[in-house]
């Protein structure tokens, strides 16, 4: 059967081209793979190979012709004894135009993203105020460090596919002693010391998660995870989507994040907003020891990649932790640490230190602040945030990260879109300063947030 050869698209963006030269003539026999013509695109001259075998029956577009649209018939291949006039029109390539595709979407109620927020303007929202553990549960005092260790050890006892990998976690007992004693209990098969090679071991851990294990990767600090960030984003976060749901990546990346104390610019950076921007990741940043434990256990059980951001300064802080054989804290549920009526202060992680201190000071001045700990940044508990702002009509956000593209920016935008009419003042974002972290003690203190700045911001939105 005669076959029409069409002008090919030779790049992702090509719409037309010049048929520069024919390398075959009518009557020639062509074989699959033989170069038939040279075609000029806007970028280069390309060789065009035959796919089908046959005899060149007729050349339809002469060489030197410019602006030949993609999919225009350029010649006809025939079989022995056939005429080029017998050709049946090749079916035109069926590609949907943007307009055609868009018709499908008109009635689509997009669950997330732009366009959804505006539609859901002021409606009653209700936060999930259920307690994290039953009333009357006995409590014990514990540091964040101990809570993290208990969470990992409990989950490793419960599931032998959970293992811990990282630098200095085993024989050295952990750079920050989070994994102290774990090598003794679980052995080197499940507490895997690595060379200093973040890119490599992050990739190995992700691959092992593809194959059915549940790795916990400790980065000594998240600053070093920049060496591995390709695997966190491109390999861990996107594979479930790219595989059409076939292959997930149940993994936890955890470690110290943000500023410690006088360790300089390369060791002092908050990555909360960076990771929270990535669909496919879940992002956790606990403040208290109870949340650190319950959220880390939840993270290890989650079938998705979880970024678990800790803070070196918080490791030694003590909190009350429920004395239960097993408890978890769900993702996407903020905690209201302090109820108030005049202003909502929203924070997470070490930022909560400033938020709670500020609330104490503000109470002395007669300002009642509601303080919310987001606990997880992805998913984010929008309902609790909005319900509180609709009650207090004022909001200040607090975080140690940089001001551009901060979590506070996103909260401000969301509150504006969904609760604009409830606001009595613009939302203020208290963030770290827009500078690399300095070494000098006095400078570092001011590069971060101060409680005084939070107090001042609250007074400003309260017009006091």
């Amino acid at each position: 059967m005669a076959i029409q050869i069409l002008m090919p698209a030779l790049s992702p963006t090509m719409e037309e081209g010049t048929l520069a030269k024919w390398l075959v003539k009518e009557g020639d026999t062509v074989k699959s793979g033989q170069i038939m013509a040279e075609i000029e695109t806007d970028k280069a001259t390309m060789e065009f190979e035959a796919v089908d075998e046959g005899i060149v029956g007729k050349i339809l577009i002469a060489e030197g012709t410019a602006n030949v649209k993609v999919n225009t018939p350029i010649c006809v291949l025939v079989e022995e004894g056939e005429s080029a006039d017998d050709v049946k029109a090749a079916p035109a390539a069926k590609t949907l135009t943007n307009d055609e595709q868009a018709t499908d979407s008109k009635e689509e109620n997009l669950p997330r993203g732009k366009g959804s927020a505006a539609k859901s303007a002021p409606v009653a929202v209700k936060s999930n105020a259920s307690p994290d553990w039953p009333e009357g549960t006995p409590m014990k005092t514990m540091t964040v460090r101990e809570a993290l260790r208990e969470a990992m050890s409990e989950e490793m006892r419960a599931n032998d596919r959970v293992y811990l990998m990282g630098e200095e976690i085993g024989e050295y007992q952990g750079a920050y002693k989070i994994s102290q004693g774990m090598l003794d209990e679980f052995g080197p098969k499940r507490v895997v010391d690595t060379p200093i090679t973040e890119h490599g071991f992050a990739g190995i851990a992700v691959g092992s998660a593809f194959a059915g294990l549940n790795p916990i990767v400790e980065f000594m600090t998240f600053n070093f995870a920049l060496q591995a960030i390709d695997h966190l984003l491109n390999s861990a976060a996107k594979t479930l989507y790219m595989s059409g749901g076939q292959m997930g990546c149940p993994i936890v990346f955890r470690g110290a994040n943000g500023a410690a104390a006088r360790v300089g610019a390369q060791h002092s950076q908050c990555f909360a907003a960076w990771y929270a921007a990535v669909p496919g990741l879940k992002v956790v940043m606990p403040y208290s020891a109870a949340d650190a434990k319950g959220l880390l256990k939840q993270a290890i059980r989650d079938p998705n990649p979880v970024i678990f951001l800790e803070n070196e300064i918080m490791y030694g802080k003590s909190f009350e932790v429920p004395d239960l054989p097993d408890f978890t804290i769900p993702f996407g549920k903020a905690r209201i640490w302090r109820e108030g009526t005049d202003v909502t202060i929203i924070s997470f992680g070490i930022g909560m230190t400033y938020a709670l201190e500020a609330a104490d000071k503000l109470a002395e001045d007669g300002i009642s602040a509601e303080v919310i700990d987001l606990r997880t940044l992805r998913p984010l508990d929008y309902d609790t945030v909005l319900a509180s702002v609709m009650k207090t009509n004022r909001c200040v956000t607090v975080e140690e990260g940089w001001p551009v593209g901060a979590i506070g920016n996103h909260l401000s935008a969301t509150i504006m879109e969904r609760a604009f009419d409830y606001l009595d003042a613009p939302v203020i974002n208290c963030t770290g300063k827009d500078v690399p972290m300095p070494y000098a003690a006095g400078l570092e203190k001011h590069a971060l947030i101060t409680t005084a700045e939070v107090v001042e911001a609250v007074k400003s939105v309260c017009y006091r």
Partner: protein
Amino acid sequence: MAAEKKPTKSNTSKEDLMGFYREMLMIRRFEEKAGQLYGMGLIGGFCHLYIGQEAVVVGIEAATKEGDKRITSYRDHGHMLACGMDPKGVMAELTGREDGYSKGKGGSMHMFSKEKHFYGGHGIVGAQVPLGAGLAFADKYLGNDNVSFTYFGDGAANQGQVYETYNMAELWKLPIVFVIENNGYAMGTSVKRSTHSKTLWERGAAYGIKGEAVDGMDVLAVKAAAEKAVAVCRAGNGPYILEMMTYRYRGHSMSDPAKYRTREEVQKMKDEKDPIDHVRDLLVQGGHASEDDLKVIDKEIKATVNAAAEFAKDSPEPALAELWTDIYA
């Protein structure tokens, strides 16, 4: 063309030779069809064809057993067909349709099959190397004797994470065969212009990893080398490096005018080293098959590929609701 070559005699059985012929031809015809559909605008974006390199995956697959895993870069169509994935599902993914292996959300560079232990399909050059070691890590952890075949190119062989992986793979004795597909060109940069060392496999020696160079245009040589490497890994003495000396006939991707090499160089490889012609000659000259027998196979494969193309054209576009699925498990 083929008459100029002097095929070596082979002790390989007729069945094996016929199988290699069929599988390699399948990849070639599939890729030619993919190139054609790309030209018609039915396949978009990046599309990297495997034509010329067929002997590598077919020879390696001949040494695998159920449970073994494979992972590769973005030039992945051949690997998928060779491990038994359905050409219809692969082609429908190329056209971005709902019956594709990734429901149209992955494309040419991102396909997976849990069933066939094919772990992608990765677009960041070299990233699949530690991921492949992770597959091997899991098998060793679980205590089975599966082997992970991790393919990467001469270009990826200059990425730092490859050497980070070599170090840990040898340190932990992971059951992994690193298959370097050295086709001579990292996109437009020849190995000579990018690499000081004479070979790529010998770099493993710095980490204590054994390896060798293999004629990657000869499926029998590939299979023999793969069997040796697999035996080392299954016995717990992995990893192992195989540097496949191969060649791609087409450009790096569909939009590559390939001005970095001469037309004569390409033609010489096609004439003298073509992996499919090689097996064809072994079959015919060994008296295993007549030209007519082979024509029957050619026709069958063409029909399979055409059916895959029709399937891929007819499969519907993914529903818009698919935009929001598979982000979280």
